[in-house]
């Protein structure tokens, strides 16, 4: 044994253990996120429990099992829980999502196994997704169409049809409100700014005033027409309702204009569940968030992230590539080059929050403030570019990711055999021509790699964005149908910030948690995919030039 220790073999095993631990941690983490994120969309069974507590009071509970844990019964007893008969050493405790928030107060409830009399999965229970107050669980009993109760044998079919109709009309109303009415509001605001501008320039004559008035009156009239249409649509959507028997045994009437979907989870077979799962994923990616971001989809966050990252890529690529070309092709060895290299290393190492602080002070307040004074005096004192926005976020992240592009591009440049350059120069090309026609095309995969890595880094960065442009809920996207179509001054939503906000700032963290896992999974998979692409492009490149060199 002593000899074995002396040989150092145990220490080698220990180092091996460290690698194994790191691997377990990495893979475990990814699996955890994937599992939690993806299982969120899987339609869970809906149970009906008959409960009897220590005092013998009986009750019914309907809901999904959300979590379960083993609790030492000693702890429960000290906490004042009473048991009808002495429990074992541990008691299983279920966290049940009961929904029906407006009737039971909390939509989560802990249930002790000792209280459970029976558990069943009745086929008649449905999960009703609503746009307000979260999910509703219960037995749909009847559909009310235009005030008339339809007594049907197949409630499910009729209910689904009516919901579809209501959702269709609701969508129309939303489109009308967001697109058409939104456009009028935008136009009115532009008119106001134009008038103010004219006033500031001293050109607001009476005739112009009348023009503005006329334009405004016309818009107002259009608005009234649209508003009427909107109200009639909303009335139409709220025509029908459904009667549901909930776990208290009471019949509750739910208006269909706030119902989004109904799922008879216990009736679904495996194929049906898979279909439902894909539907859930699609909805998650394409829908707007609801209920303070704790429900619905993440489309605006995806859009905001992608838009900001693209903007950043447009800014960072030329600078990064030029800097790399300078360092590799043009720079002479000297103190300046050395300093630039140290600058690159340091730019990569400076904490991201420092970039955020710099971006807020320099870009937003200084640059943006000056732009406002020069070009948007009519909107002052409310800032246009002088407040955090998507362009400033993109600029801030461009500086942050600059070293990534530089390092990657330079690596690509250094892999191009010098014989290729010398050949071009020997044939009479100038250095610039060699650069444009030979070096850059050959280095383009490396530039691509750098860009992908930069995009991956930027997509995951949150801390600086919290200061320079991200918000928890942006009413409008940075791109829409209103002139000038791309609004670089707008604030935007971001997947990473969405995770932070929903996970830590939302009022109902427990309900929002699965959504955060799903968002995390989305973000992680995008970033890991980007990184893997970058790695494979880079490896491919290495192989290619390895063969060139020989």
């Amino acid at each position: 044994m002593g000899k074995w220790f002396k040989s150092g073999s145990p220490w080698i095993w220990m180092t091996g253990g460290a690698v194994s631990l790191s691997l377990i941690a990495v893979l475990g983490l990814l699996l955890l996120i994937a599992w939690r994120g993806l299982s969120f969309f899987w339609p869970a069974d809906i149970y009906e429990w008959k409960l009897r507590d220590a005092k013998g009071v009986e009750s019914t509970l309907i809901g999904e099992i959300y979590d379960r844990e083993q609790v030492p019964s000693e702890r429960l007893i000290t906490a004042g829980v009473e048991f009808a008969e002495p429990p074992g050493e541990f008691v299983t405790r279920y966290l049940v999502k009961t929904g029906n928030r407006e009737f039971v107060g909390l939509d989560f409830r802990w249930v002790l196994e000792t209280d459970i009399v029976s558990r069943s999965t009745p086929e008649g229970i449905a999960l009703i997704e609503r746009s307000k107050n979260g999910n509703f669980y219960g037995y749909p009993v009847a559909v009310i169409e235009n005030g008339k109760r339809l007594e049907l044998s197949d409630v499910q079919h009729s209910l689904e049809e009516h919901i579809e109709r209501a959702v269709d009309i609701g969508d129309k109303a939303t489109t009308l409100q967001k697109r058409d009415i939104g456009a009028i509001n935008h136009e009115l605001e532009r008119l106001r700014l134009k008038e103010r501008r004219a006033e500031l320039d001293g050109e607001l004559t009476d005739s112009k005033k009348h023009e503005f008035e006329a334009a405004r009156a016309k818009l107002q009239a259009d608005y009234l027409v649209l508003e009427k249409e909107l109200f009639s649509l909303r009335d139409d959507a709220g025509r029908d309702s459904v009667i549901v028997r909930d776990m208290r045994g009471e019949e509750v009437q739910l208006k269909l204009d706030s119902v989004l979907d109904v799922t008879y989870a216990n009736r679904l077979d495996f194929i049906g569940k898979i279909g439902h799962w894909f539907g859930g994923v699609a909805n998650f990616i394409s829908a707007d968030p609801r209920e303070a971001n704790t429900e619905g989809g993440v489309f605006p966050a995806i859009f905001g992230t992608v838009f900001m990252v693209l903007l950043m890529a447009i800014i960072v690529t030329p600078f990064g590539v030029i800097a790399a070309i300078y360092l590799h092709e043009y720079a002479k060895k000297g103190p300046l080059t050395k300093m630039i290299r140290i600058a690159v290393i340091n730019l990569a190492g400076v904490p991201s929050i420092v970039y955020g602080v710099f971006g807020l002070g320099f870009f937003v307040y200084m640059l943006g403030g000056s732009i406002d004074q020069l070009f948007y005096p009519e909107a002052l004192p409310s800032p246009t570019f002088g407040s955090p926005g998507v362009i400033w976020s993109a600029l801030t992240l461009a500086i942050l990711t600059l070293p990534v592009v530089i390092v990657s591009t330079e690596e690509g440049l250094s892999r191009i055999p010098s014989a290729v350059r010398q050949g071009s120069l020997a044939l009479g090309a100038t250095k610039a021509e060699t650069l444009w026609r030979i070096v850059i095309p050959m280095a383009s995969p490396a530039i691509m790699t750098g860009l992908i890595l930069a995009v991956a880094r930027a997509a995951g960065e949150v801390a600086p964005l919290m200061l320079v442009g991200v918000v928890k809920l942006a009413p409008t996207l940075p791109v829409d149908m209103n002139f000038p179509f791309v609004h670089l001054d707008r604030k935007f939503m971001h997947l990473g910030f969405h995770i932070y906000d929903v996970g830590f700032q939302s009022p109902n963290v427990e309900a929002a948690r699965p959504l955060v896992y799903a968002t995390s999974f989305l973000l992680v998979s995008v970033i890991v995919a980007l990184n893997l692409t970058a790695i494979s492009v880079r490896n491919h490149l290495r192989e290619k030039y390895r063969s060139l060199e020989h």
């Binding site: 095993w13 220990m14 180092t15 800097a323 021509e433």
Partner: protein, 750 residues
Amino acid sequence: MDTQVTTPDSAASILAGKGSGRRSFKDKATAVGVTVGGIMVFVALLLIFFYLLYVVKPIFDGASVSERAAVAYDAASAPALMVGSDEQNELMFRVGSDGKVQFFRPNGELADEFVPALPAGVTVVSASASVPHEQTYALGLSNGELELYRVEFGVTYPGNVRTITPKVRNLNGDSRLLVNESGEPINAFTFGRSNNELSVAFKGADGKWQLTKLEGVENLLTEEIEWSRSGALLPDAPSNVQEQLMTPDQRQLMLRSGNKIFVYNIRNAEEPSLLQVIDAGRAKRQLNDFSLLAGASSLLLSYDNGDVVQYFQVNGDKGRLYREIRDFKGLGHIEAIGTEFYRKSFATVTDDGRLTLLYTTSERELLSEQFDIAKPQALGFSPRSNALVVDAGHKLHLFAVENDHPEVSWSALWHKVWYEGYPEPQFVWQSTSGSDDFEAKLSLMPLAFGTMKAALYAMLFAVPLSIAGAIYTAYFMSPKVRSVVKPTIEIMEALPTVILGFLAGLWLAPLIEEHLPGILVMLILLPASILLSAYGWSKLPLEWKQRLPETYQELMLVPVLCLVGYASFAISPSIEVMFFHGDTRQFITNELGITFDQRNALVVGIAMGFAVIPTIFSIAEDAIFSVPRHLSNGSLALGATQWQTLTRVVLLTASPGIFSAIMMGLGRAVGETMIVLMATGNTAIMEWSVFEGMRTLAANIAVEMPESAIGSSHYRVLFLAAFVLFIFTFIFNTVAEVVRQRLRERYSSL
């Protein structure tokens, strides 16, 4: 840099034929453009550095004072009781001790004048001024009555032009306030008032000090205010009182007699009690004057030799007593002293006209300059503290004051500071609060401490794992496995920290809280199980070993470790029941007396360690892997074992690389924001305990930056925090890079 190509000098001569001019121009333009682009990177770093510095610098600048106007007033006027100005500094006022008020414009014009209307045959015998921000004064009359006045400024905008109208309001209203019941003159007094209460301490005709409190109650029927009176003689009052002060909340009264200050509790006007006698005598120094600092919690005592000493109440064994907190020395022979309305600044003027601006908490002398204000009578700040009015030489001098950040100083940021109401000097970060008379406490120490603590725990977790992992991957692992393992661990670096933070805060923290015994057991069982497996492996018959695939030998520990980990968690509840009465958290709090936060340093250490592992692993692995093979081969050939070769040759050679890896990791841990933000409670405490949280510089910026006003001291201190982070990481990264460069050169020479 071996592939670097330099342009041949004769390049221009090659460019012959048509269009050569354009080609050479393009060539030159590209060269210039690329060079400028390259230098831009350097400029970007400099820009960040200097911009941060540019924002931070004003907090360390002193104040500046310039004289705006000097307005002469009638030399025969009574001595000044109070001077000051309006918010816009468009009007100065001077209250004489006879109650006459004069308002002057800076151009010398007398804007208004007020003379109190007194009943016939009654004269003013004494006068007293309130604390500066109330701008109130009172006159003691020969018939035992008191007149109360307030200086007010009304702002109107006739025709869009701001017009300020001065006014002196009689606060008595229609009633007469008989303070001295005997109807004898009020010889000396001090007062404190609120809307319906007035406390007056005065010296009666018999030379005895009395306290009178008048409480006004509005009669619901007649809507007249009826005054009820209570009062008593002050016990043990000194016979020779030079000065007297009352706090505006009418709770304390101070009488100065020589070097002694008698502090009374006058909350109950019927029974005033002597709280404390401050013996402010100092060797060969004579107390000259005393006044209240803004907020009325501190006393400023000024001595004839130019010392000013701050006193405030501190909780001690004998209750809350005044004690000496800090002093300012060498201010000259102080003739007048004035305090700001809301901040803890004060100004002194000496008899030869030296004006000094000081701030108590930060112990800063912001300015000391000579002006033509010898023999000053009084001085007063303007409400916004951007102007100062000094009455000297029968002139009112108006000074513009620029003093934006007096509360920040090196000592306030990095040393313990004794704040008002605190039992002792402390490091405190508390930038905002609900109450109005709140003093921001901007000590960076707790934040720097939190940063270090978080980084330290992260490194404790990350360094052993990542270095050991790097050693194994670089030195023992088969190339095939290495090509999979290395990128897998490195991909962790790309993982957004917001996700690590979210998992740490919402998944890991409750998990650790729930399974604390399991975590402890795991710490012991994991290494033990590795050693056990190793021993088992060494005892395994040779033919078994050969049958197992050699390439993946390294990964055989994975299932073992998974199993051990799972087992630790599984037995955790049983351990909890057996040793910790079924609730570890309760046990730690109650039996061990340690505070336990759910989001604590342990969670941060693990989560941030995770974020740092790939950084350290990657660089250290590179360093070990690139140790020239002939070195290790030589060692092995001389008969050293693998382990001996590793520790005595390979690691020694690669040690600078490993050092630089750790530096890089430290740099990353110091600046990490999201993980600490989400995985700690973000309370700025200074405790090393692993079960308590912290607040780091970076997280603090993320939390407070969006709410801080541009240009405020708070905003600039947050920039300073960013600057500190910048410098921290700059040093770490530069050192790491320089070490790495050296190492690379050494390898290439080997």
